[in-house]
Structures are given as C-alpha cells and as structure tokens.
Symmetry: C2
Subunit: 235 residues, 2 copies
C-alpha cells in the first residue's frame, strides 16, 4: 500500500499542483507549437493559436516564468521547462484518452470528440488519467491517429501516414481519419472499418491512384485515391 503510493509520486498524473485552466491551455499550445522545431515560440504565434491578443500572452508568459513552467527572455520567445513540458504532456494525455473514451464507449463520432475533450482534459485528479487508461485497455493512439503520452510522460513517435502512402504488399492498422464528414464516416461504417482495423494493401492502380485492399484479411475491395488519402494508418 505504502509502496504503491510512493510509486505514484513519480508518475505524471499526480506530481504537479493544479494549474488554472488558462495556464494549462498555454502550456499545451506552447508544446504543440514547439514540437516541430526547437525554435522558441513567439507571443504572436501563441496568441493566434489561442485566438487572443499578444498583449494578453505577454502577461501570461510572465506568470508562467514565475511558476518555472517556461523560459522566457524579452523578445526571445518562450520554451517549456522540463516541468512545463511534463504538464503539457499530461494535458495531452488526458485529452487523447478522453477522446478514445468518447468515441469507443459513448459512440461519439470523430468530429464531435475534440471539443468535449478540450473540457475533459482539465479535470483534476491524480489517479484519473491512469484509471481511464486502464479502463480503455491502454490505447496507444487516439482516434485521430496521434500517440497518447504514457503515464511517465513519454510519447511515441508518430508513424501515422495515409493509406495511399502504404507500399504494395504491406499491412497497416487504421488509427484515424483526416476527413470527418458524415459521408466518409458512413462509408467507413459500411466497409466495417474502424479504429484498429487491419488493412492489407494488395495493389495500387497507376491510372487513378485507386487501391485494392483487404479489410481484416477478408475479400478484396477497391477504394478511390480520395478515400486512401483520408484514411490515417499506422504500419
């Protein structure tokens, strides 16, 4: 019992004091803007991502510096500290786990889950993310194909690609969709394709980019290039 508690102190979920909702959103945005390049993030970029004003951003950046969640020097851009990065990853972990929950358990569709997860990601409880993770069977990817950070704050690389990029003869698993229109989602349902569905790419037609696939080792089906461009998969 004591040992368990001890271990918990070192998992992401319980080691940080609660941030305000707004602070959490800043950390998340700085993380997302910074992950591509190692460049420092400008107030303007943050303001745009949050749909607010650069002047407001500067105010908040000062506060985040005080809390040691970011590094920031005047006119040099912001960067997460290790502490800030861990919190950002926790928010992202919570967001993506809730998205899986909403899609798989509550039967929401791909295009509805993001907005609700934006709210749910801020629920504070030291055990919640890990319990939800377990309940969902430790999913590795969210319904948009993005990797879910682990309890210890590690995030898998994104191997996701689109079906049309898969080589002939290879097999992949569906991790999400790009297009979330109901016509596409309904078509997927008809083909019995969902998250995790195994697809083998049998042949590509040079003429129009159509691809011939086998769904769950079943009979061959042909889908258009438009279809294949919008299905996110993971090899």
């Amino acid at each position: 019992m004591y040992l368990l508690r001890f271990v918990y102190i070192y998992t992401m979920s319980s080691s940080f004091p609660a941030q305000t909702l707004s602070e959490e959103n800043y950390l998340k945005v700085i993380y997302h803007l910074g992950k591509e390049a190692t460049v420092k993030i400008s107030p303007t970029a943050i303001a745009e991502a949050l749909s607010n004003n650069p002047a407001s951003v500067v105010d908040m950046l000062k506060k985040l510096v005080d809390k040691k969640l970011i590094q920031y020097e005047k006119s040099k851009g912001a960067r997460l500290t290790e502490k800030g990065r861990k919190i950002a990853l926790l928010i992202i972990r919570r967001h993506r786990l809730w998205e899986v929950f909403l899609l798989e358990k509550l039967e929401y569709s791909w295009d509805e889950i993001h907005e609700i997860a934006e709210q749910l990601e801020h629920i504070q409880d030291p055990l919640l993310a890990d319990r939800l993770d377990k309940f969902l069977g430790f999913p590795q990817y969210d319904p948009h194909g993005d990797p879910i950070p682990t309890a210890s704050g590690e995030m898998a690389d994104i191997y996701k690609t689109i079906l049309s990029e898969v080589k002939e003869g290879n097999t992949c698993h569906v991790v999400g969709v790009k297009d979330t229109s109901s016509s596409f989602l309904q078509y997927l349902k008809k083909l019995d394709i969902g998250i995790g569905t195994k697809i083998s790419l049998d042949e590509k037609i040079p003429f129009d980019g159509s691809v011939i696939i086998s769904i769950k080792n079943g009979p061959k089906t042909t889908v258009s290039k438009i279809f294949a461009d919008n299905l996110l998969v993971h090899e």
Copy 2:
C-alpha cells in the same frame, strides 16, 4: 435526422444555454437547500453552503434574477424558477451519472468519487449526459443511494433507508453507504456486497440489533447493528 434534432430540443440536456461554472453551483445549492422545505432560501444559507460571503451571494442572486433562473425579492429569500430548477436537476443528473461511472468503470471507491464528479458535472455538451446514461445502463440511483434525475428532468423519490430499518422477511437492494471508511468498504468487499446487491433480511436479534441476512440468495450471514446502520438500501 431532422426529427431527431427536434426531439432533442425538448430534453433536458440540450435546451439551455451554457451557464458559468459559478452559476451552476449556485443553482445546485439553491436546489439542495430548497428541496426539504418550500421555504425561500436566504443569502446566508447559500453563502455557508458555498463557503463564501453573503455579500458575494447577493451579487450573484441579482445576476440569476436577470437570467430568470431564480425569483428574488429583497430580504425575502431566493427560489428557483422552473427554468432554474430544470438546470439544477441537469447538473445533479450529470453529477450522479459521473459518480456511477467513476465507481463502476474506473474502480474508484465511494469516498473518492464526489470531488471528481463536482468537476465533471460542469462539462458542457448537449448529448453527453444521455450518452453516459445509456453507456451505464440507465442507472436509477447513484452510489450514495440518491436517485438520478431522468433526461426529462424528473427525479424519483428517495426510498432509501438503512439495512437496520428493513423489516424481517423483506428483501432490499444496496444503493450506497453512509460510512465510507476503508475498513467498512473492505468488509463489504469481503462479503461481496456492492451497488445493486440483493439482500434478504432474515432475522433481527433484539439483544444487540445484529441482523441475519442472505446475500444474493446465498447462505445466511450475521452482521452487527453498526454495519446495518451504515448500509443504504432500497426496498
């Protein structure tokens, strides 16, 4: 498609514009304070329930009057309007559904769920409560034995009582616990008693109030009066 949307307008979950978190808490508190008596609720009582200041309460009451969520005349106390009552019931519905989720699906214990549900009850989405309700199998009572308001805003009466009040020969179902100490919860686990467990009261011992019960039609077990006083049941 259109018909479905139309119907939804008339269910509790989607018919109200979002309130602020604080407004929702005021409505909830006014509901809870008002349900016992039909008396009007004083600012002082509300302030105490919210652990804040009567002066703050008066400010908020004015705002709630403007929004037509309560009736309030100077120094006469507050009362929910029909609109306010419906919103309060929706918040309570969400709270209790999330409590069921946390206990049954995420393996939280009786004493941990309230605080998390206080946060989850404010998540805004027109479909969420109803989807969660369905996912949970339309539970009628939360883990504390309190009835869950329906999607249309009706709440069952509270029939709950304690095991020691059940008459000899009657059968009841567990709806919750009064004591949430881990020693009691562990004892319950050992006896294989959980939410919904069927218990028949076979005999009461006059000497010390011990009761002899059958759990799930199984063999007879004797439990103390202290035990029977702390188990909430529903006949």
